[in-house]
């Protein structure tokens, strides 16, 4: 039997490295938390969500283009209708005015069944839903299904280090679902295809999978970038877009102080010209899938960090990614971010150094890096200062209450708490410090959400006091126990449990 202090550490560890208490979890889970999480790492795979309408981005791409074509023809039909109505001798009064409005309505100005938080975004020019009128448009519907499947999957594991690492890497290599129809509809598939398979694999493989995914190529504009000296560049007079190249160096690999300059940004942009998304006509492959288009590729041997890359075609980018993945600055950058996420806003330097060393020694073996994190006593024994992110909070709450949300119950609260799936405000992803999440407005909003969840669960939880003992285990304080016992109602008691410092911090 473990000592009380070991039990407290283990209980906290399930929150820090995993998804936290789950109603009905095996009685021994808390006592063997570290073994449980390490065994999950050794298994080396992360489960995939199920019950999705599309298997992957290839199917999604075809469906998206078909959807957009249909939208276009319906818009055209409406326009013709409006023109006819506006013609002289039309019998309907005011038809001319209405027709003009429809014909000139700017994109993004539609009203109706658009989803909350997405409708009037300038970047997110979500087309008006086609019939039936109350059914959301295909990109949003697909996003919604992917979000639900993703959260339901996270309700299952006893430990959950794999799911936590999916969240971490998905945010590291983030895309933004509000950029376009394509990023919206592919956001879930991106995580399934570029992130999940590599969480316990090699960093380089995840890097290549992320940068070559249609969602990323669309999000950071590389599908539009054209080598000025390429056949297409000479013919069309268009050129480079350095958006993706800059963020690869700054956010995905070396970090902003990793020792690169403007010339490296421009040259990496040259190196990855031609990494694009197949258009609807499907010349280079399945519509909507990744392709290397040699006709867009800038010829030459541009140097990156002083080393020239003269490989043919797509090999050039793969070679650059291979070197970036092995660069010492990448190891340092990733190690610090991991420790900041799991352990403390101010990462203990020795721990970050150790992880960076493992990263370098193993050429970015993420299984070895994750194992080193979980084997560190420093990582286990640090005080629980970090507040759970809204996504962690939502998943932890549903696990503790033993309930299953529908998609609206996920998307609504995550929107108000400021962390909807796959839509950070920029390519640097969601913030990862208490400054951001433990703010005045952030805490107030969490309380509103927790009050809501307490009301929803009040009928299904027999005794909130017993649940608090189960959920918080050896971490529960006398004050929290008393506050829950004295609550005016079951729903208030549950809200107090969910908002208690022991539940919020990890």
């Amino acid at each position: 039997m473990a000592s009380p202090s070991v039990l407290r550490t283990n209980s906290l560890g399930l929150q820090r490295f995993g998804l936290g208490f789950r109603l009905g979890q095996p009685p021994g889970a808390r006592g063997e938390a570290r073994e449980l999480l390490l065994a999950e790492i050794e298994r080396g795979t992360v489960a995939q969500p199920t019950n999705l309408p599309f298997a992957g981005s290839a199917e999604i791409g075809a469906a998206l283009y078909a959807f957009e074509d249909q939208e276009k023809s319906e818009r055209e039909a409406r326009r013709v209708l409006a023109q006819n109505a506006a013609a002289p001798n039309a019998s309907v009064p005011n038809a001319a005015g209405q027709g003009a409005q429809i014909a000139t309505a700017p994109p993004g100005a539609q009203v109706g069944t658009a989803p909350p938080g997405a409708a009037s975004s300038v970047q997110n020019q979500m087309p008006q839903p086609s019939k039936p009128p109350n059914e959301p448009a295909l990109p949003y519907k697909t996003y919604r299904d992917e979000v639900l499947a993703r959260v339901l999957l996270a309700l299952e594991p006893d430990g959950g280090i794999g799911e936590r690492l999916v969240q971490f890497w998905s945010n590291h290599f983030c895309i933004g679902a509000t950029k376009s129809n394509m990023t919206r509809i592919m956001a879930g598939a991106y995580e399934r295809e570029a992130i999940r398979p590599h969480v316990f694999g090699r960093f380089e493989d995840m890097l290549v999978a992320a940068e070559s995914h249609p969602a990323m190529l669309d999000f950071l504009d590389n599908r539009l970038s054209i080598g000025p000296g390429s056949p297409a560049g000479k013919r069309r007079g268009r050129g480079l877009n350095e958006n993706l190249a800059r963020e690869i160096l700054e956010l995905h690999t070396l970090g902003v102080s990793g020792g690169y300059g403007q010339i490296d940004v421009t040259n990496l942009a040259r190196i990855i010209t031609g990494w694009t998304v197949v258009g609807r006509e499907g010349g280079l492959g399945a519509p909507g899938s990744f392709a290397f288009n040699a006709g867009l590729h800038e010829p030459g041997e541009p140097p990156l960090l002083g080393k020239p890359y003269g490989q043919p075609g797509q090999e050039k980018g793969l070679a650059a990614f291979s070197d970036l993945a092995r660069h010492p600055a990448t190891a340092d950058f990733v190690a610090i971010k991991l420790v900041r996420h799991f352990v403390a806003d101010e990462p203990p330097p020795a721990l970050a150094r150790d992880l960076a060393t493992v990263f370098r020694r193993t050429d970015g073996d993420l299984k070895a890096v994750s194992r080193a994190l979980l084997e560190s006593d420093v990582a286990w024994e640090a005080q629980p200062t970090k507040i759970r992110t809204p996504q962690e909070f939502l998943i932890a709450a549903y696990r503790a209450l033993g309930r299953k949300p529908d998609s609206g119950q996920i998307i609504g609260p995550l929107g108000v708490m400021g962390q909807p799936f796959w839509q950070p405000s920029g390519p640097n992803g969601y913030p990862d410090t208490n400054d951001a999440w433990a703010s005045a407005e952030g805490i107030k909003t969490r309380i509103d959400v927790a009050a809501n969840w307490g009301r929803q669960a009040a009928g299904s939880v027999p005794d909130p006091r017993a649940l608090a003992e189960d959920a918080l285990g050896p971490q529960i304080s006398a004050e929290t126990r008393q506050a829950i016992a004295r609550a005016e109602s079951k729903s208030q008691a549950l809200a107090l449990l969910l908002m208690s410092p022991e539940f919020q911090r990890r």
């Binding site: 700017p106 909350p116 938080g117 997405a118 409708a119 009037s120 975004s121 300038v122 509000t178 950071l220 504009d221 539009l224 970038s225 054209i226 000025p228 268009r238 050129g239 877009n241 350095e242 958006n243 800059r246 700054e250 902003v256 403007q262 609504g412 929107g415 108000v416 708490m417 400021g418 405000s425 920029g426 640097n428 400054d435 999440w437 433990a438 703010s439 005045a440 407005e441 952030g442 805490i443 107030k444 909003t445 309380i447 509103d448 959400v449 009050a451 809501n452 004050e479 929290t480 506050a483 609550a487 005016e488 208030q492 809200a495 107090l496 908002m499 208690s500 410092p501 919020q504 911090r505």
Partner: protein, 415 residues
């Protein structure tokens, strides 16, 4: 500051005036020596709007009078006549046609525009650029506190400004308001509020167990109280985010409601997003035009919502850096350097372009690609807050914008 009007008019805020070192040093001597020496009976309001993503200043305020402008901006250039013509400012600079409210405020002397401006940051990372803009530090990586928070902390305790703290709009408060001084938080409500009894019980629990959460909750309750007294509570409309026209309007309404309250914060910061126009930026119409329209609507909302205190208000609109002078390969612009800042409000000595124009020929550009910055945003910010709140030069140079003793507050911006 009326005794310095003539000098300032001539030296620092005249049309495309040259801000020479001598002029700046001369202006320095007019800064009040004591905090609050100049504030007098004014009860000022200051709102800082951060445009995240790097606003293209050459599209927002196009220098159509510059012979090199048109050639750099193929596909997105604005014209001074014809349909969708840019709005005239001074015959050299024009305003994007999506901003009629700003044009009106400028014409009536309630707005000035700073051009070819930047912070001291010369790299091109959004996130470092925003950190520098908001932390007020000389470089990135020092993000413990923001300059508006240190501004409040530098004011005498008990004054209305410091007593009411700084408002950070958004679920995640912007860095510029973070720090030791009290922060109030507010975001457009989108969900039914929890009852006061639950808030009270959690306040008690946090008081016993978690000082950090206790402080955050106390500040949230305070702001909620102001919002209720202003009739803003219970409004749970949906609506877009801070990169949408509707979202910008709602954020502006809320900020104006709180800052306009007698017992509300005097200083606020908010952020609008989506300005990173790498591709298909658009000209008179299109993506950037929609965003600028949203900003323009927000400015009109401020004017309306702050009507009783508008004469004492300055709204300052800034962004982390500008964008490339030349359009890129995808009819957009990549990360650049110099850009614009807007100063709007009844307290602004308006109707003026403040710019030492560097020109747009290749050798006049910064690193042959970006509009060269000739005015330091920090000089503008220091000028505004020194005149608005009566802060002395040394306090500004040591506490608010550390290490900026060489950068004199620009004079004569606030009337």
């Amino acid at each position: 500051m009326s005794d310095t009007d003539d000098d300032c008019e001539r030296m620092t805020a005249s049309r495309r005036a040259v801000l020479g070192a001598a002029g700046a040093l001369f202006a320095w001597s007019f800064v009040p020596k004591f905090a609050y020496a100049a504030a007098g009976s004014r009860d000022p309001r200051f709102l800082l709007v951060v445009l995240r993503g790097a606003l293209d200043g050459l599209s927002a305020v196009p220098p159509i009078g510059d012979p090199d402008y048109l050639g750099l901006r193929e596909g997105i250039a604005l014209a001074k006549d014809g349909p969708d013509a840019a709005l005239p400012l001074d015959g050299f600079f024009y305003l994007h046609p999506a901003m009629p409210n700003l044009a009106r405020l400028y014409a009536s002397g309630q707005a000035s525009i700073v051009h070819a401006a930047a912070t001291g940051y010369r790299e091109r990372s959004h996130f470092d650029g925003q950190d520098v803009l908001e932390s007020g530090q000389g470089g990135p990586g020092r993000t413990e506190s923001g300059w508006l928070n240190r501004l409040i902390a530098s004011l005498p305790q008990g004054e209305a400004v410091s007593r009411h703290g700084v408002l950070g709009v958004g679920v995640v408060p912007p860095l510029v308001v973070r720090g030791q001084a009290p922060i109030l938080g507010w975001a457009p409500p989108r969900m039914a509020r929890a009852g006061p009894d639950l808030m009270q019980r959690l306040g008690d629990l946090y008081g016993e167990r978690d000082p950090g959460l206790a402080r955050a909750l106390a500040q949230a309750i305070e702001t909620e109280g102001i919002a209720q007294r202003r009739g803003m509570a219970g409004d749970t409309r949906g609506g877009g985010g801070p990169d949408s026209i509707e979202g910008m309007k709602r954020i502006a309404e809320g900020a104006a409601g709180l800052v306009g309250a007698d017992d509300g914060p005097r200083i606020a910061a908010l952020a609008f997003e989506g300005w990173d126009t790498h591709a298909n930026e658009g000209g008179a119409k299109g993506r950037l035009a929609q965003l600028l329209g949203g900003l323009d609507g927000a400015l009109a909302t401020f004017e309306q919502g702050l009507k009783p205190v508008w004469k004492d208000t300055v709204v300052m609109v800034v962004t982390e850096f500008g964008r490339t002078a030349k359009v890129n390969g995808t009819v957009g612009t990549d990360h650049g350097t110099g850009t614009v800042a807007f100063l709007v409000g009844g307290a602004v000595k308006g109707g003026r372009m403040i710019a030492d124009w560097p020109g747009l020929r290749p050798e006049q550009l910064y690193e042959k690609r970006d509009l060269k910055p000739t005015t330091d945003i920090r000089a503008v910010a220091k000028g505004v807050v020194s005149e608005l709140f009566g802060l002395s030069g040394p306090v500004l140079a040591e506490k608010v914008f550390p290490g900026t003793g060489e950068i004199a507050p620009m004079q004569g911006i606030v009337g």
